[in-house]
Each structure stands twice: as C-alpha cells, then as structure tokens.
Amino acid sequence: MSRFEFYNSQGLRIDGRRNFELKNFESSLTTTSNFNNFSRNSQSSTTYLQMGQNKILVNIDGPKEPTNSNKSKIDQDKAVLDININVTKFSKVNRQVSTNNNNSPDKQTQEWEFEIKRLFEKIIIMDSYPKSIINIAVTVLQQDGGILASIINCVSIALMNNSIQIYDIVTACSVGVVDQMHYLLDLNHLEEQFLTSGTIAVVGGSPTQNVEDANVCLLSFNDIFPLDLLDGFMMAGIKGCCTLKDIMVTQVKAMNINKLIEIQ
C-alpha cells in the first residue's frame, strides 16, 4: 500500500486542498497568427490552458476546405472533425523512450482522440459548416493528473476563442474516491496513481450552478469502478464541472475583451 495519506482527518488532501477544491485554472490566448484575421475563417490561433500543473496547447485550424490528402473524408452536409493529440515525451515524470519509430500515438492517446472526437461531434453544430474540415491539434506540454479533463476543457475554450458554433460549453473534471467514502475533485498525479478515479464531462448546467440542467456527456474510468459509488461520484463530478464552467466563461470573456482592445 502507499504510505500517502490522501485525505487526512482534518479534511486536507496531499497537496493542501480540501476535497472539493479545484486546481488553479488559467487559460490564455497565445497566437502565432495575426489578430487582424479574427474571423471564422482565420488561419489559426492557439489556446493555452494551465490547470494545476497540466499544460496544454490547442490549435484549431478551420473550418476550412479540406486539403487534397483528406478530400475523401468530406461530407456534403456537415463538417468533419479531425483531432490529433500529441503528448510530448517530456511531459511525464520520466522522459518516455518511444519504441515505435513512426511516431504513431500510443493506445491511450488514440483512445483519448476517439473519445474527444465523439464528444465534440455532438457539441459543435456541424451542419453549419458543410463540406469543410475542422482540425484540432492538441499538444500536452506537461501533465500532472486528470489530463483527459484538461484536454476537454482546453478544446472547449479553444472552440469559443475560434468562434466555432457550439450548442453549449463542455466542461470536464476528474474525480477520485478515497476509502469508498470521500470524493476528491480534480486529481493530481499522485492521487490519480493510487486511487480509483474517472473523468466526467458535462454539457449544459447554467453558470449559477444549477445542477439539474447538467447533462453528462462523457464518463470514463481508469480502472474497475464499484457501482455503488457511482452516485456520489457523479454528484461530485457534476458540481465540479458546473463550477469550472463559471470560471471558464469569465476567463474567456476577459481574454476576448483584451483581444478586442488589442485589435482596436
């Protein structure tokens, strides 16, 4: 057993947070392209998210006409989503030495790509962009637990920044269970390593934390999860996601006001 005490008698976690406290959440818009092309058809702009020690860059390219290579994928009625996740080799505790030389993503990353694609195909109003392709490139610079949730959040912010039409904002949060009683939100690396945990993503739910409106749109577990704990898990996760939504909305607003000022 690990010698760590994940939830001590005074209700503090290993890094000093309480069980329902989220990690530090900061996002910003770093762009390599010029701001003047700020429109739906802009080339690209990059969203940077730092959620605790998770550092993620998302670059959205499109919607645009597909290039020659992926013309075959084209759909006459709606857009096509193409997601590409690149987990850098230096992002983990140990520098990873890849065994395959053709640089194809590992199984875990492929699964994430698949999950995120399925999720955002339902979120983006694809009918608005027929015959076009949206490229989402995710780069994970550093990871410290709950990386899937962070990627989803970052993609969500990037979609807003890129003014792509979506039904609602998606927010995601990782949840862990200690001693089958205490639920922890937004895990760090140590907690994720030793606890039963999962990720929950929510769409809807008003900014005023109206939990009833929230719809769960993704539920992903890292290992076998006991069914009897699911209720508490969902409640904790949904609450966390709703709070995150508040934070995200304010940050996106602030970000874009800055941008507007700069443009003017």
């Binding site: 057993m1 309480r18 006991p226």
Partner: protein, 1038 residues
C-alpha cells in the same frame, strides 16, 4: 520530504493568488488559495534516469488550532474528526497551563512516553514532524497515528488529546527552504515558526483580541534548535527539563530513554566522536548504506532475515535464496548487534573460518549473568575464532559463494559461515523481561541514584538489555516491559529503558499480560467506537419471524435473498462448554438415495459490515486468542457468544453450504446460500458420540447424525487415500479448579469419532467455498496454502532414523502421499509411541500454512500439502478468525447476495490483510502454547509439594555436547538435561556426533550411553529459575 541524494533545483515557482475556487462549503466561500510548485530532479539508485517530480502545494489560512478555548478558528464540519480537542489541563510546576509541541527527535525516542497516560495529555504534533517521522521510522509513525485524535484514559472523563497541526499547508507557518539550508534545518525552523505562531495566535492576538494565557512549550532534544528558540522568544525545553517541570516528574523519570544521553553531543561533537572510537569498540562498525546496496547488487553481500537458534543465542541463521542451506552466523562479534528476525546484510567469511554448527546449548540466561552492566568486560567468546583480518576482493567473494554452495551439498559438518555487516531493518519492539538480581546493587539503593542493571528478556533468543533505573530494587521479582533504544558499537549489550511494571512474577495476571504483550496480542477492551457498530437491540436482537415481512424487508433489502431453513433438523457439535458456536450440521436422506448434507456457519458478516470500526478492529486483531484461563475475542462478546453463535432452540442467521452427496460421499451438487436456521440441539463431542451409539434412539435427528458419521468416514478415507497427512503434536488440556481457577490437572486431549465427523465436513465446506470464490474472484480470493517442505528440512531426522533405529527407516518426500506412507512404515514393535514421536518431529520440519490472495501464486501453488487438496480456505469459524469473515463476504459476492466490498477486490489490500492475519495467527498460537506451558508448570509445582518424585517416561530427541533434549509426552513438555546434573567427571564424557550418542559416567561410577530416540525415565520437577524467574520443568535422568 526529500533525502540528500536528490538534487534540488532552485524553486522556480511563484506564489500567486487566484480568485476562483470552489468548495461545497458556503462558510469558506471567500477562502483564498495560494499555490506554489516546484520541480525536483532526483536520482535514485535503481533508476539512472532523472525524474521530474511535480507537486503542487496549496497554502491556506483556515487551518484550525484545535484548542478548545480558542474562539477564532473555524472547523470544517464535513471531515471526520475535526473538532477542537485540546484542553489546557497540563500544568507546569510554575502553575501555568501549557500545551506541548513535539519535535521529531522527541517523538522517535519517547514514543512509549507519548503512549503513557501520565504525561503528554495535550500535545500538538506539527505536520513537519509527522512527515519526517514517516520517513524515519514507519512503525513509530503507525503507533503515533493510532493514538492521534482523542483517546479515552482509564481515568473517567479525561482524554488524551493529540492533534496534528498541518503547518505545511498554512500560509502563516509555511517556510521556504533557503538556498544554503539543509532539509533538517528547514524542518526545525518551520516547527519553531509554528510554535511562535501558536503562541501569538492564542496569547497575544491583539488584532482579534484573544489572550488565553496558554503557554506553548516546544520540546526538542536538539541543542541548536533550543538555542534558536531562545533567540526568537519561544519557550523550548529538552525532555529532561520538561519532565522536571512537571508535577509528577518523579515517576516519569525512569521512562526517559537512554539514547538521548548520548544523542545530544553526538550531533555537536561529531568530530570528537570519530577520533576517540576504534580502540574501545566491542563490535565492528556497520558498512555504509552505499556499500551495502552496491554489495547486494554485485552479489558479495546478501540480505535476509536472521533467525537466532533456539538452543544457542550466540548462533543464528540467515536464509538466502541462492543457497540451499541457511548461512550460519556464529559468535557475538559476527552476529554484530543483530536481534532475532532483524533484516540484516551479511558477508561470507573466508573459507578457513567456516565452522560447524555448535552442538552446545547456550542460553542468554546463564551466559555471563554476573557481569557488571556498567563495565564492558571483554570476555573471550569460546566459540569465536580469532578473526584474522584477511582482505578479500568482491570477485573472490563470489568464488567463495560458489564454494559455499558446493560445500553445503557435500560436507555436512562445515557450513558456510558469515558475518553481519549491516542492519537493514530492526525488528525492535517492546519486550517483556525481568531484572537480573545479580546485577542490582541493593545496598547502594538510596532511591535517588540511577543504576544500570541487566534485564533478561522473556524471549531467550535475545540478548540481555541494560536499563538505567532508580527503582531497581523495587522492580526485582517483577515482570516489566521495556523498550530498546540503541546498541552502540562500544557496548556489549544493547541499551533500553523501562516502560511498565506488569506485576509480580508468577502471579496469574502478570504472566498473562506478559504473554499477551510479548506476542503482540491486542487485549484491551473494545473501544466505544467499535461497540457502537453493534445492533442497537443488543441481546434482544431477533431474526424476523417471517422472512417475507415487508416491514423487515424495507429495513434490510437483501432479506428477500435469504432462504428459510428453519424446518431442517440442524444440530451443532462442539467441545464441551463452548459458547461461540459457529458451525452446525444437518443431513437428510433424499428420495433418490443420495444425501442432502448442510453445513451452516454463523453469519457474522451480517453484523460486521466492511469498513466500519468494528470491521477494522476485527481485521487488526485477526483471530481470537485462546489462553488456558482466558479468551481474547476478535469480535465483541455480544456477537461472538450470542447474536452470531448458533445457539440451540433459537432462530439465527447463517451462511449455508448444502451438498447433495451420493452414497460414496461424492459431491453431486453444491449450493451456497444465506439462510435462517434453528438449531435443534447443541452437543458436546462426547454427548453426540453417546447419542449415535445409543441403539434405542431412532429419531430423525439421530439418524441424520449417524448418516453424517458414515459419510464422514468415507470422506476421511478418501482424503487419506489422496495422501493427507496425519501429523501429531503433543496437545494437552489443563483442567482448572472451578472455584480458585487454579490449574490442577493435565491430560492429553481425548478425541472421539464425532471430532472427526465435524472436522471432515468443515474441510469439505472450506474446499467447496475455496473453489467457488476462486472462480468468482480469480485475483483476490482469500485462500490458504501449505507449501511442500524442502527436502533439507528432513535431512537430520532421516539421518537419525537410519543410523539409530533402522536403516530402512526413511521419510520419503516425493509427495504428501509418499510421506504419509513412509510415516506409517516407521514403527517400533516394542514401542507404540515411537510412531507418534516421529510424527511430532516431522511436524516440526514442515512449512507453516499461510493465507494468501489467489493472485499471489499460480494455481499449482494453491495446494494444501497437509490436507492433500488443490485448493483450500478458511470459511467455517468467522467468529474467531478474520480470514473466514473475508471468505464469507467473497462468497456472498460470488452468489450475488450483495456487492463485494472494494477492499476485498483489491489485490494490494488483500495482501496487507493476509500478511496481518498470518502474523496474528502465528502469535496467537505462540501465546496459547505459552499459556499452557505456564499452567503445566503450575500443575507440576502442586505435585512437587506431594514430596514424592514424579517419574515419567521421556524420549531423547536431540543431542548436544553438554546435554540432551527430552520430550515428556504426558505433560507435552520438553526439557534439557544438562551434563553437569548427571555426570560426575567431565573428562569421561564422550560425544559422538555422527552416531548421536553421549557417553558419560554417572554418579554411581557406571558408564552410561544415551542415544537419540532412547526411552528414558526422568524425574519431572518444576523449578523456578533463579535468574529468569521462569517456571520450567526440570528433568532429571533416572
């Protein structure tokens, strides 16, 4: 948190405030969280790659101080025990109320005092110290954790209040490590900062107007720290000063560990210490850690558990995987301060120093007892060859190792011999012992002077310990509890300190408590928290009359899955006077000629739900302990003897296994269910036997029992055919006088056919359940295995048998079947007991059976060697064994009765459970045997009074140079007959080790030869050993 070999980059984090945060708690909505992070670059030995460690550290300002009087702190109602607990009841001699803050070094050295109820009743432990402690000594950390929170003291309405202050998470008390500072200095500084903060917070808080006048005292043994405290104006003391300042200082002084006396200047005068060493040292210095780990890697140093020989405390063995036989460690210098069952690092000695196993019998009790404990006399060890310091390279050592393997195969006389070069993990705990009278200077007892005296430990495999006390005379003739502090290399014996007085030697209470403490049995009454988990109705709890009653179902939704078996004719068969009945049986003839046989086990898990305090207590106790006059229960009385006990004539919940057996006792079908039963009768073994034999009784219940007996015989035969062993151990029963509770007779346990009746069906139930849970939970099923014994274990026994008795006698170990058959063959026509004797001796060569989670071994290794079955578990005694509780839950999960708790589905957690119950099980056995030994001694003492010498038959089972070991079957005792008690002249003694004979001249000038396995007449006398104060059976050859 980081050790020195980690390179730490300068912190690149910055503190910043974020505005958004989320808590479910409205009260702390406006709380601000600051974050800090750092990157470490660490190297450890196994992994050469640099590792990037990334940890966030949130600082907050809502850490409460836990002082009851404080008005400022707020508590999070959500978490388990966050309420203010600290009172200001501890009073210093200057009449000031105070709360003590402890430093790490104080906790490590004085953990016994912290556990004591006379001191440290209101203390704050800084988180920094707790973290340091965790890395320093995990066992002490665990002991401390168990008393944190408030614990009830024996004095009513008083509590021991220990609280942890999480100073690392508080922005006012957190300190950054300075660039030039060592990690220890930083920790000391943060503890000082905490003391300063608490002082300010409680006493001088002008802004918020709080002045409680509670003094904060920082207790530390570090001189530098004390000085620095003075500089910043924090009251600080070392432990001596502190105790001097207490009102009850007198009685506490004895308990101060000795280690401190030297520790103080060791830190400061390190250089001086190094220069003056070497010449006075009694033992060789241990190798540095780096050398040991390098040596372990390249194969020149080995690591293992040291086992001190039972016959000679100057000789130990270390089992190393790469050697067929354990490596011998001989002599005090080579044992180099190791205690029994320490994990040690050893090195092989050069071949010319290899030695034979000593055939002398040496007890620590009789080995230089008359030494003055203050003086370090260098008496030359008879067994110890003068060590000629040959320097051997690692390569040579590896060659040596190959040589050693060869040697141990060919030559049985010289054994590879090694030397302890380092202790990897100490096994020190609290020990029971008594003061050696010879070492106490009675005249010089003015009551104020400390004097050193020897304490002889209960476990004779351990060396004597030197303690300093002022109450030596008072403590003479008493059993005392001591702790071991240190064993410096210039001291011949380890240093320790006094903890507790258990009472006068030979008084029943003191002996029982000593026995329980020595075997680490938790014997305190159940705590309030545990008792709260019991059903509210208490003794009046009843099974619902109708299992389909909707009202009852609403209370317990799984009731619908319970089967009503109250119409079955069930009875229980147990030892006489049994109150915790956990099994019952029934048998019915089916219309198709087969039998329906049911085994019903008390449904303990209905009351013991996982993860409750009750469950945790049961898990940590692991088993009930049966002493002759006392039973230490695993579960509270209410459950064990009433609600769970399958008492006759009342409805009880049970877990039933129901088979359909054909007339040859083959299993046709098996079914498991939770049920409700009503036992018709509770029999003792003898009663049941009489009822079965009584031809006049032909009622259905008796018929059922007869059928059970018939089937059980078939089952037993099958088991024996498969190769089950029939081993023996000398089991005796002590009869107690019902009024005085004194033991008054001893007898070997009688068995009836009905004993085996119950046993066979319990085995069958265990096997069936094992199969079922293994199927359902292939990785985590709780099973029990018994490994086949290694051949080398039987070498000596076989050698003795062939040489002494008959060349054809040989124990063949190919399988349990051949072993059983060869045991059957070894028969002395003139002595019927000889076969039993060999069985007793072979039992000692066996491996111990153990619990394990099924994922820990491949299927082939699940085998239970002794029972000759491929899979086995314990299911049938959940009242007294925790393994059975787990098996019950897993079986309930497997049949879909309820969800299996997560902790029993987690391989790691199961491994922890198994490790604990294996240890508890072993300890319980030792304690039980110890208790029988004590009472047998008492019985013999009584019989001594009748003046007539008692002559009994004994068997010689082991030979030594200076005596031999004799087993007396009547009492089940063993004793050593020393040569000096038999022979007149030591010169005429001839010991032939090859032939296992000892020839000597008896008092009447006749030569006498004693051989192993000889049947001898011995006079049994109970003697109180003057030095150990232990009553032992003394045997005299007649």
């Amino acid at each position: 948190m980081s050790t020195d070999n980690k390179i730490i980059l300068p912190s690149i984090g910055k503190k910043r405030v974020i505005n958004e945060n989320f808590t479910s708690n409205k009260k702390s909505k406006n709380l601000q969280v600051t974050t800090k992070y750092f990157i470490k670059n660490s190297n450890n030995l196994n992994n050469v790659q640099p590792v990037k460690i990334l940890r966030e550290h949130y600082l907050r300002d809502d850490i409460p101080c836990s002082v009851k009087k404080c008005q400022l702190c707020q508590y999070d109602s959500g978490s388990a025990d966050s309420k203010p607990i600290l009172e200001d009841s501890d009073i210093l001699s200057n009449n000031k109320n105070h709360i003590a803050v402890l430093d790490t070094n104080v906790i490590v050295n004085s953990i016994d005092m912290i556990e004591n109820e006379k001191i440290f009743n209101n203390i704050i432990i800084p988180q920094t110290a707790l973290d340091e402690l965790k890395n320093l000594s995990f066992p002490i950390y665990k002991r401390l954790k168990s008393i944190i929170g408030s614990t009830e003291l024996s004095d009513e309405n008083k509590y021991k209040n220990i609280s942890v202050f999480y100073n690392e998470f508080m922005n006012k008390t957190y300190c950054d490590r300075l660039p030039t500072e060592s990690i220890n200095d930083r920790n000391d500084r943060s503890i000082r900062k905490l003391a300063k903060y608490l002082d300010y917070h409680l006493n001088n808080n002008i802004k918020k107007n709080q002045s409680l006048n509670i003094q904060i005292v920082l207790i530390t043994n570090d001189k530098l720290n004390l000085e620095k405290c003075k500089e910043i104006g924090v009251t600080a003391m070392n432990i001596y000063e502190y105790i001097d300042n207490l009102t009850n200082s007198e009685e506490l002084k004895d308990m101060i560990p000795q280690y401190d006396l030297t520790a103080d200047h060791k830190i400061n005068d390190k250089d001086a210490d190094v220069t003056k060493s070497s010449s006075e040292d009694f033992y060789d210095e241990y190798y540095p850690n780096s050398r040991i780990s390098a040596g372990l890697k390249n194969g020149s140093i080995y690591q293992g558990n040291i086992q001190i020989s039972e016959h000679n405390f100057l000789q130990g063995y270390v089992n190393v995987n790469s050697f067929p036989k354990p490596i011998l460690i001989k002599g005090m210098k080579n044992l180099n301060r190791s205690f029994n069952s320490d994990v040690v690092a050893i090195e092989l000695l050069p071949e010319n120093e290899w030695q034979q196993e000593s055939s002398y019998q040496v007890d620590s009790e009789h080995y230089d007892v008359n030494l003055n404990p203050d003086v370090n006399e260098d008496s030359e060890d008879a067994n110890l060859a003068e060590s000629n310091s040959v320097i051997i390279s690692d390569k040579q050592r590896r060659l040596l190792a190959q040589e050693a393997i060869k040697q141990s195969k060919n030559n049985k006389n010289c054994v590879p011999t090694g030397k302890v070069v380092g202790i990897i993990r100490r096994s020190w705990r609290q020990y029971v012992g008594q003061i050696v009278e010879a070492s106490v200077d009675e005249e010089n007892n003015s009551g104020t002077n400390y004097q050193s005296c020897f304490v002889l430990l209960y476990d004779l495999k351990l060396p004597k310990v030197v303690i300093k006390t002022r109450r030596a005379v008072e403590l003479m003739n008493k059993r005392i509890l001591i702790g071991v502090d240190s064993w410096p290399k210039d001291k011949k014996y380890p240093l320790g300190h006094f903890i507790k007085d258990l009472g006068v030697v030979e008084s029943r209470d003191a002996e029982t408590e000593a026995l329980l403490l020595e075997h680490d049995v938790e014997y305190r009454p159940f705590s309030k928290k545990v008792l709260q988990c019991l059903p509210e109705e208490g003794d009046n709890w009843k099974c619902p009359v109708d299992l389909k009653d909707p009202q009852e179902i609403s209370k317990d939704p799984s009731l619908v899955k319970r089967v009503d078996l109250r119409d079955k004719l069930i009875c229980s068969i147990d030892p006489p006077g049994c109150v915790d009945i956990d099994d019952a049986l029934h048998c019915k003839l089916l219309p198709n000629g087969n039998y329906e046989v049911g085994v019903h086990i008390a449904d303990v898990t209905h009351f013991v739900k996982p993860n409750t305090p009750l469950d945790q207590e049961g898990a940590s106790r692991g088993t009930s302990v049966y002493l002759v006059d006392k039973r230490i229960d695993m579960l509270p009385m209410l459950l064990g003897t009433n609600l769970c006990s399958l008492k006759p004539y009342v409805d009880r919940y049970a877990f039933s296994v129901i088979w359909e057996l054909d007339s040859n006792a083959n299993i046709v079908n098996v079914d498991f269910m939770k049920s409700c039963i009503k036992s018709r009768e509770a029999f003792a073994y003898e009663e049941a036997q009489l009822r079965i034999d009584d031809k006049n009784k032909n009622d259905e219940l008796t018929m059922g029992m007869r059928n059970l007996l018939k089937l059980s015989k078939l089952l037993k035969q099958k088991r024996l055919d498969a190769g089950a062993l029939n081993l023996a151990s000398p089991e005796v029963k002590v009869y107690m006088d019902s009024e005085t509770a004194d033991a008054n007779d001893v007898e070997i346990k009688k068995t009836f056919e009905t004993n085996s009746l119950v046993e066979e069906f319990m085995l069958l139930a265990n096997i069936s359940v094992a199969r079922k849970i293994q199927e359902a939970f292939p990785q985590t099923a709780m099973l029990r295995r018994h490994a086949s014994p290694p051949k080398t274990n039987f070498d000596i026994l076989n050698d003795m048998l062939t040489k002494v008795k008959d060349p054809n006698f040989k124990i063949i170990l190919d399988s349990s079947k051949t072993l059983a058959e060869s045991l059957d063959r070894i028969e002395d026509p003139n002595d019927s007991f000889f076969n039993t004797l060999v069985r007793i001796l072979s039992t000692r060569c066996m491996m111990a059976a153990e619990y394990f989670p099924s994922g820990a071994h491949p299927y082939a290794d699940y085998r239970h060697y002794g029972l000759a079955v491929d899979i086995y578990t314990h299911f049938t005694s959940p009242i007294r064994r925790y393994c059975d509780v787990v098996a019950h839950r897993q079986l309930a999960g497997a049949i879909g009765y309820e969800m299996l708790d997560l902790s029993h589905r987690d391989k790691n957690k199961m491994e922890i459970i198994c490790k604990n119950i294996n240890r508890r099980h072993r300890n319980a056995q030792f304690a039980g045997r110890g208790s029988i030994e004590y009472y047998v001694g008492q019985v013999m003492k009584k019989e001594n009074e009748s003046e007539k010498p008692k002559i009994e038959t004994g068997y010689v089972i082991k030979m030594f140079h200076n005596g031999f070991q004799v087993l007396v079957p009547k009492f089940g005792v063993e004793g050593l007959i020393r040569l000096e008690n038999m022979a007149t002249d030591m010169k005429d003694v001839d010991f032939n080790e090859d032939q296992y004979t000892l020839t000597f001249k008896t008092e009447d000038k006749a030569m006498r030869t004693v051989r192993v396995f000889d049947k001898v007449d011995v006079e049994v006398k109970s003697v109180l050993d003057p030095i150990t104060n232990k009553r032992t059976a003394q045997l005299l050859l007649k």
